[in-house]
């Protein structure tokens, strides 16, 4: 029972990361109908930037700031230089271009930092706090949950309460009409990619210390988990991505805790297939996505 409670809480913290990562995928999907397969690689690049900054300043927090800023810049760059031009030929091209970016970014990181795992420190302890002899939850898990919750609230305020958010929603919903009404759709898309990459960078910063460490491919499996989280919401629903992320996190935590960590990739695949076969449009979809 004690282990079950600990695994659940640990899974919720891990799931919060998947939720954030899935949310970033949803942000871009809503705006451009592209699944950003390069998001994991972009996030790892931001995390490496943080590693360098933390190494130079000795402060985790400067590293975190650098990762978020680097994520914003990388996301904007990718939209401006690649994605803006890739979507014209057909639906496959953006996916293929993003995969090319994965190869390029991972190789560049390997050249600069080498292909070894760099262990990364956490700002808070990862040993569980005990309440009346029960291992409950670690301070770091609480930090993760708090950080993801803050980002989600900020995004909700941005999209629900600000003019910029309204423009972003309009541009995603009806780009032609928005352009006629004076929304600079191109700029709004760039902002969307930048925001999504920054959220992805945060997810990488939070999850990498809990795994083997920093490595060019460190986010590959997280990408699949985050993708699964986003698919639970039909790729379209931010709430769905959050719920999906938490669910995926808890399931993977049980699988890792009771069956061993080798089983988690298999569990992710089975989860993804289950969701897609039972509810292809996602658990939260209201419109049918495809009729053929």
């Amino acid at each position: 029972m004690e282990r079950f409670v600990f695994l659940t809480l640990d899974g919720l913290a891990r799931g919060a990361v998947y939720a954030a990562f899935g949310l970033a995928l949803v942000l871009i999907w809503r705006g451009t109908r592209v699944v950003n397969f390069a998001q994991g690689a972009l996030a790892v690049a931001s995390a490496y930037l943080a590693y360098t900054v933390t190494g130079a300043t000795g402060s985790y927090w400067w590293g975190l700031v650098a990762a978020l800023a680097g994520g914003l810049a990388l996301g904007a760059l990718v939209e401006l230089l690649v994605m803006r031009w890739a979507g014209r030929a057909g639906p496959l091209e953006p996916v293929i271009a993003a995969l090319g970016l994965v190869l390029l970014i991972q190789a560049l990181l390997g050249m600069v930092y080498g292909n070894d795992f760099h262990p990364v420190d956490t700002p808070f302890a990862r040993t569980a706090l005990t309440v009346r002899g029960f291992d409950l939850v670690s301070p770091y898990d609480l930090f993760v949950l708090g950080a993801v919750l803050t980002v989600m609230l900020l995004l909700a305020v941005l999209f629900g309460r600000t003019k910029t958010g309204l423009r972003m929603r309009a541009a995603a919903f009806a780009p032609e009409v928005s352009r006629l009404l004076g929304v600079r759709v191109g700029r709004v898309l760039t902002l969307g990619w930048a925001l999504a990459a920054a959220v992805g960078a945060l997810a990488a910063m939070l999850v990498i210390p809990t795994e083997l460490g920093l490595h060019p491919t460190a986010m590959d499996l997280v990408f699949v988990s985050g993708f699964t989280a986003a698919v639970v919401g039909g790729l379209d629903s931010p709430v769905g991505a959050v719920v999906g992320g938490l669910g995926v996190g808890v399931v993977l935590s049980y699988v890792g805790g009771y069956l061993g960590s080798d089983a988690t990739p298999v569990a992710v695949l089975l989860l993804l297939l289950t969701v897609l076969l039972l509810r292809p449009g996602g658990l939260f979809s209201t419109v049918q996505a495809r009729r053929v």
Partner: protein, 323 residues
């Protein structure tokens, strides 16, 4: 139809004979490279059919190659032809399972599922450690070459034979009813459905055929390297195959051949450049593994942005201009 089949047969035999002749002009290392390119070609030819003719992106073909390679490694080594056939069969079955599961999926969903399939390979080899020996992998004892032919040349012949069979079968499939149905589904699913083409079944079939090709490619990989390990079949391999078919030219078997050749020759060319540079051992080591990847990634992005038809498209246009 029969005449087309005969022409394909003639072209295949002529091409394979020319390549076999070429093996007598190349040194052992170049012969090994030729063999590797031919093994890649089995897989890229299948993948170009799936992506270029059916419009589905798979990131799981590295994993399907792994099923073929591990089948060859696990079966007794005496009858190579039989174990290669078994490898194709196992990959076909794996492809059918993934294909049926993915039949309702499109573009990004299929790419995501097949990506997850690729991530599973190392996990499965570790979980069934007793069978697959985890990260260490298995060794493959292929029957030795006959005494009258150099081993590398023999390997090249085997791989050329596999690639020739693959290309012959695929070329005929593309000209058949199936090829026309694949193209129809890619271009307009609704119209294809109205014309009486079973869309889902057509797409599963495309996936299964390309999986069988990947299985053959994987089996040849196992025979050439005489070992299999999960690190060979990582996500990078799947991305390599994707790169090869896109840069070669989507949907064209000749493009798949250009791509396979590129996968072998470009890293080699890059190595010979970096070997000439005065670099420290640490930096040289980092560049060796990563520079080809970076060049491949950049090429892929640039081809998508600027050269939609790939190398084959460029060639066709150049030939037309000359006329």
């Amino acid at each position: 139809m029969a005449r087309v089949g005969l022409r394909h047969l003639t072209v295949t035999i002529a091409g394979a004979s020319a390549l076999v002749g070429l093996t007598y002009l190349l040194d052992p290392f170049r012969n090994y490279q030729l063999a590797t390119a031919a093994a890649y070609l089995c897989a890229t030819a299948g993948l170009t059919l799936l992506i270029g003719l059916n419009g589905q992106v798979s990131l799981g073909h590295g994993a399907l190659m792994a099923t073929g390679a591990y089948t060859v490694a696990l079966l007794p080594s005496g009858m190579l032809l039989l174990s290669v056939a078994a490898a194709v069969l196992v990959a076909t079955l794996a492809g059918a399972v993934v294909g049926v599961a993915a039949a309702r999926l499109r573009g990004p969903y299929l790419a995501g599922v097949t990506l997850a399939v690729t991530m599973v390979v190392p996990a499965v080899t570790t979980m069934a450690d007793a069978v697959f020996h985890g990260d260490q992998g298995l060794s493959v004892a292929a029957p030795p070459a006959p005494l009258w032919v150099a081993p590398e040349r023999w390997q090249a012949w085997q791989a050329i034979a596999a690639a020739a069979v693959t290309l012959f079968v695929l070329a005929n499939l593309l000209r058949s009813r199936f090829g026309r149905e694949w193209r129809a589904v890619r271009d307009d699913e609704v119209a294809a459905q109205l014309a009486g083409i079973p869309v889902a079944r057509t797409q599963v079939l495309a996936f299964v055929v390309s999986a069988a090709c990947a299985g053959l490619g994987g089996a040849m990989f196992a025979v050439l390297a005489q070992s299999v390990s999960p690190s060979t079949f990582s996500l990078t391999l799947s991305l390599y195959l994707l790169l090869a078919v896109v840069v070669g030219g989507l949907g064209s078997l000749a493009g798949a051949a250009w791509g396979a050749l590129l996968l072998v020759l470009l890293p080699d060319a890059i190595h010979s450049v970096t070997d000439g540079l005065p670099l420290g051992p640490d930096l040289a080591q980092r560049l060796t593994g990563n520079l080809p990847l970076a060049v491949f990634g950049l090429t892929l992005v640039l081809v998508v942005l600027a050269v939609p038809g790939g190398l084959q498209g460029l060639l066709v246009r150049a030939v037309r201009r000359l006329r």
